[in-house]
């Protein structure tokens, strides 16, 4: 039975697609057959971040419209076994998504995959609704600032009322918080909400905290999911988050300002 996880946030630019790429790559690396679907029809980005934009022939909308079959549209990742990408269409808009079509594609994928990761577009309109509708779990990506937290709160309300699980009175969608672009230095200066502030407002379990890191931008630009950069703090933090997603107890890192000792100062500059 495939597990369907939506990566959502409400607000744009907080790191949903980066997270979708990292989490799906992390799951595949651990041996789970994983597919990541780009629901951002019209503003397709996931293929860029996954570095497969030149290999897109058919897309999600083609499959929904039955213009292509799934195997034609799925792109196999070249770096990690077990990882597939279902790209969005760049030339269509969200109206091309319909609930029966999405259901059919997800049902088909569920026969074959252990994890289906749905990369939601920003907003709470049709694309975002479609991405979350069939979810078993939701990872709510939030930046430590008030507007992002407010939007996440809104999305959590929608997850609790507008998803298939909610409508059919099943167990609720399991929600977890992923705090991205976290900077302990700025929290210390009072310029940013702390992990505790955000946890207090949203009142859901913390899946991980991804520190603000240059390696995220580099990774995006080079089409390499940041989790594959095993040296970077962000890559390590995503690796930890994947562990927690699978039920491991992993202590949180990168929450405190790094105290650089003498050697640290010498070598890390």
């Amino acid at each position: 039975m495939a597990k369907i996880i939506v990566i959502t946030s409400g607000k744009g630019g907080v790191g949903k697609t980066t997270t979708s790429a990292a989490i799906s790559t992390g799951l595949a690396k651990r041996g789970y057959k994983t597919v990541v679907i780009d629901f951002d029809v019209g503003l397709r980005n996931l293929d860029l971040i996954m570095g497969c934009e030149r290999r897109v022939v058919y897309d999600f909308v083609n499959v929904i419209k039955e213009e292509a079959n799934l195997n034609q549209a799925l792109i196999k990742d070249k770096r990690v076994d077990n990882l597939y990408i279902l790209p969005a269409s760049q030339t269509r808009d969200k109206d091309a998504l319909d609930i029966e079509g999405v259901q059919r594609v997800i049902d088909d994928l569920a026969k074959d995959f252990a994890y289906i990761i749905c990369d939601s577009p920003a907003g709470i309109e049709k694309g975002a609704m479609m991405a979350m509708y069939f979810a078993d779990e939701a990872i709510v990506v939030t930046n430590p600032e008030v507007s992002s937290v407010r939007d996440s709160d809104r999305v959590l309300g929608i997850l609790a009322s507008k998803t298939k699980r909610a409508e059919e009175n099943q167990d609720p969608v399991k929600e977890s918080l992923l705090l991205t672009r976290y900077s302990p230095e700025r929290v210390e200066k009072g310029e940013m909400l702390s992990v505790e502030d955000v946890k207090d407002i949203l009142a859901i379990p913390l899946l991980g905290v991804i520190p603000e890191s240059e390696s995220v931008l580099q990774a995006s630009n080079s089409g390499q999911p940041v989790i594959l950069d095993e040296e970077s703090d962000a890559g390590k933090a995503y690796e930890d988050a994947v562990g927690r997603l699978l039920g491991d107890e992993v202590p949180h890192r990168f929450l405190e300002v790094e105290k650089k000792g003498f050697f640290g100062r010498l070598f890390r500059g």
Partner: protein, 264 residues
């Protein structure tokens, strides 16, 4: 109209009662002149015969104790309207209404009857009979609700219990009773109750207690960071809430129409 029988499959439950908010047309008598009412009603209906055809009509018997209800009802029927009940009548009229097959809508509360009276006076040209379409929260609609719902709502549980956080964009209304929220009310969320509101987490959104006018209603919360507080229509916005009142267990109540915020 208000009764709905849906379940044909289950024989042991052939119907259910439902309270519904409906728009009803009220015939508000301004002059006790039945001939004039008859004539003007005809003129009014001639303007939009399809709109009025078979419309249910409530007779407002508020103003004239002596009005001949039976004849008013017949005049209404003659114009192909359907008189369904009276509102605001005295006990004698209510008995008569039952005799001639009309329902009785319970008396309107002081506040809303006041409003509708004012509305009638302000909006009406001096004519003898007027058809006054009443919508939304005004008299007849509330009365429909009150008449039918108590069986379900008040005997079952007057208190609404919410266990999950109330998230931004959500609105929760405990009609006819108190509201208990076991978690927080987020910024951009709104909770309303006819009675008290108890919030065991933080209140960051809007809380409106006593929305039907109960000045005794109170709001209780743990950590007050509300966008808006209101009791029986009196309100305070975030900027008006003193900083020192914000921490810990707090109650908000009305004291001589003044909103008080007090630690507990």
């Amino acid at each position: 109209m208000v009764l709905k029988s849906k379940n044909k499959i289950q024989v042991e439950r052939a119907f259910e009662f439902k309270g519904r908010m409906l728009t009803l047309t009220v015939l508000n008598v301004i002059e006790n002149d039945l001939a004039a009412i008859d004539q003007q009603l005809g003129e009014k209906i001639a303007q939009a015969p399809e709109f009025f055809k078979n419309s249910p009509i409530v007779i407002d018997a508020n103003v004239f104790e002596s009005i001949d209800l039976k004849r008013v009802a017949n005049i209404i029927r003659d114009h192909q309207l359907v008189p369904v009940g009276i509102i605001g009548g005295n006990p004698k009229q209510e008995l008569l209404a039952a005799d001639i097959g009309l329902g009785v809508f319970p008396k309107i509360r002081a506040v809303s009857s006041d409003k509708s009276d004012r509305k009638t006076k302000n909006n009406k040209e001096p004519e003898t009979g007027s058809l006054n379409s009443v919508t939304g929260k005004q008299q007849t609609v509330e009365n429909t609700q009150e008449q039918l719902v108590p069986v379900v709502e008040i005997t079952k549980s007057p208190t609404m219990l919410i266990k999950q956080p109330v998230r931004s964009g959500q609105q929760i209304y405990a009609r006819g009773g108190d509201l208990v929220v076991m978690s927080s009310v987020g910024a951009g969320a709104e909770v309303l109750a006819d009675g008290h509101i108890h919030i065991y987490g933080s209140l960051r959104g809007r809380a409106l207690a006593g929305v039907q006018g109960d000045t005794q209603a109170r709001i209780f919360c743990n950590n007050l960071d509300a966008e808006l507080l209101s009791i029986a229509g009196q309100y305070k916005i975030s900027d008006d809430i003193p900083q020192d009142a914000k921490n810990g267990l707090v109650q908000i109540y009305l004291d001589n129409e003044q909103m008080k915020i007090q630690g507990l």
